[in-house]
């Protein structure tokens, strides 16, 4: 890596490939260490909740997953838009790599939410504003993935996906508020999590540790997927064939 380090140094696929190759083991290590620490704090240190008992401990997976699901959609839309506006190949690849992870976190948030809802609310699902908008977020992820996979031409797929992701990002607040108003118009809010009492300090620590673990996981997986996309798209280039030859010689 010679030359000056600028904002765009790692926008070049070979350099990005090299950098992420170095980072991924560290990210996995961070992910595992943070998960172990977070789960330890969550299961053994944090006290039992006064009203919900032990069932509340789903929170250590549920809340980080829900945060990640929303954040990753915005990050995906951002990189897709950058890739579209500036014709930055790598940004488009990153956007595509984020989508499955975001959808996975959305599904995880819904799934763990159902597990949490059953013992505390007595039902797997309610058409609450938050739950419904999370479900719609899953649909948006699925639509994005279906669209980019249906278009064979990668350039068109990236640009069409970017447009859809941006339209979706604009729509997310509209959908959230309409669902919220719909809910309050149809039935009084039966469950309010905003009115919950303040959390114990250790609970918050456990949740933050798990959030960072999810971040490390998301980075690691997105980088791995981006690397696969890079190799696939750049297979005709010199550096990829060079790399494959070296690996073939090493094996």
């Amino acid at each position: 890596m010679n030359g000056r380090l600028t904002l765009f140094t790692f926008a070049s696929p070979p350099r990005f490939y090299w950098l992420t190759g170095k980072l991924i083991p560290w990210l996995w290590a961070a992910c595992i260490a943070l998960t172990v620490a977070g789960l330890y704090v969550g299961f053994f240190v944090a006290p039992t909740d006064a009203t919900q008992g032990e069932a509340y401990r789903v929170i250590y997976m549920h809340v980080p997953a829900a945060w990640m699901s929303m954040l990753l959609y915005l990050v995906m839309a951002f990189w897709a838009a950058i890739g579209w506006a500036f014709n930055a190949r790598l940004a488009s690849m990153v956007a595509r790599a984020i989508a499955p992870t975001g959808a996975m976190f959305t599904f995880l948030a819904l799934w763990t939410g159902a597990f949490w809802g059953k013992p505390t609310w007595g039902t797997w699902w309610v058409w609450d504003a938050r739950l419904t908008s999370e479900l719609i977020l899953l649909f948006l992820y699925l639509g994005y993935m279906a669209l980019v996979n249906a278009i064979d031409d990668t350039r068109r797929a990236d640009q069409a996906g970017a447009l859809l992701a941006v339209v979706g990002a604009v729509n997310v607040p509209i959908i959230y508020f309409s669902v919220k108003w719909w809910n309050t118009l149809h039935q009084g809010a039966t469950i309010s999590m905003t009115a919950a009492p303040k959390m114990a300090e250790t609970m918050l620590t456990g949740m933050l540790l798990m959030t960072f673990a999810c971040w490390a996981y998301a980075f690691a997986v997105v980088f791995m997927r981006t690397r696969a996309i890079i190799v696939e798209r750049e297979q005709h280039t010199e550096w990829v064939s060079e790399m494959v030859r070296k690996q073939g010689a090493g094996a």
Binding site: A150, R156, L163, W181
Partner: protein, 222 residues
């Protein structure tokens, strides 16, 4: 400028008039689909009155989606879409004109036939009027957003299903306020809030959706 708009609308309407049966298919779908619900749910007037707004709105949504694949498909196939893109006219106008023509062919008949279903579902007269008005404000939103979906999925193998998958989540706000207005009217509550929000959605999508559709057409035909 506005002559382009009028020309495209007139052309699409003429094309629809030449293929009358095809143009009527979405309406036929709407009629059949709505009629299935009482058969599935049961004939109790109380239940029917309760589900009527949602049923009519969801069926209108699906009927609008079904006819959208052909919005740009045939123009793309015969090359006239490329001519429109090459003409140098604003793509916003082209997309808006296509959406308007689509609404006149599929949306307006839905609005006109909706009161009939209000009667079949035993809606009160004010609720029935609200149903027609909410569809009048809401179906253009579906045509506008659907135009975006049609442009994004232009020429794809599984375009029709894909279009429905990507556009339906975006139509949810229109569905909520449209069906909500009718429920409110049925319950005797003021519908002004619903209509204001529906109008805001219409204005917003009317300004932004043609622009996005134009960008999607550029991407698709590049």
């Amino acid at each position: 400028m506005s002559s382009v708009f009028a020309t495209i609308v007139a052309r699409d309407l003429r094309l629809a008039a030449r293929r009358r049966v095809e143009a009527l298919l979405p309406i036929a779908f709407f009629l059949v689909a709505v009629s299935l619900f009482p058969l599935g749910v049961g004939p109790e007037p109380q239940t029917l009155r309760q589900i009527a707004p949602g049923v009519v709105w969801v069926c209108a949504l699906l009927a609008a989606m079904l006819s959208l694949t052909q919005l740009y498909g045939t123009d793309h196939a015969d090359g006239s879409l490329e001519q429109m893109l090459l003409s140098g006219e604003s793509l916003w106008l082209v997309s808006a004109a296509k959406a308007l023509a689509h609404w006149i062919v599929t949306g307006a008949p839905l609005v006109l036939s909706a009161p009939l279903f209000g009667i079949l579902f035993d809606l009160s007269a004010p609720a029935n009027l609200t149903l027609a008005l909410s569809l009048l404000l809401g179906t253009p939103i579906l045509s506008l957003l659907g135009g975006l979906g049609a442009a994004l999925t232009l020429g794809l193998r599984s375009g029709a299903v894909l279009l429905i998958l990507i556009i339906l989540p975006l139509c949810i706000p229109a569905l909520i306020f449209g069906a909500g207005a009718v429920s409110a009217a049925e319950a005797g509550i003021s519908t002004r809030g619903h209509f204001s929000l529906l109008g805001a959605l219409l204005i917003g999508s009317g300004l932004l959706a043609p622009w996005a559709t134009g960008a999607a057409l550029r991407i698709a035909t590049e």
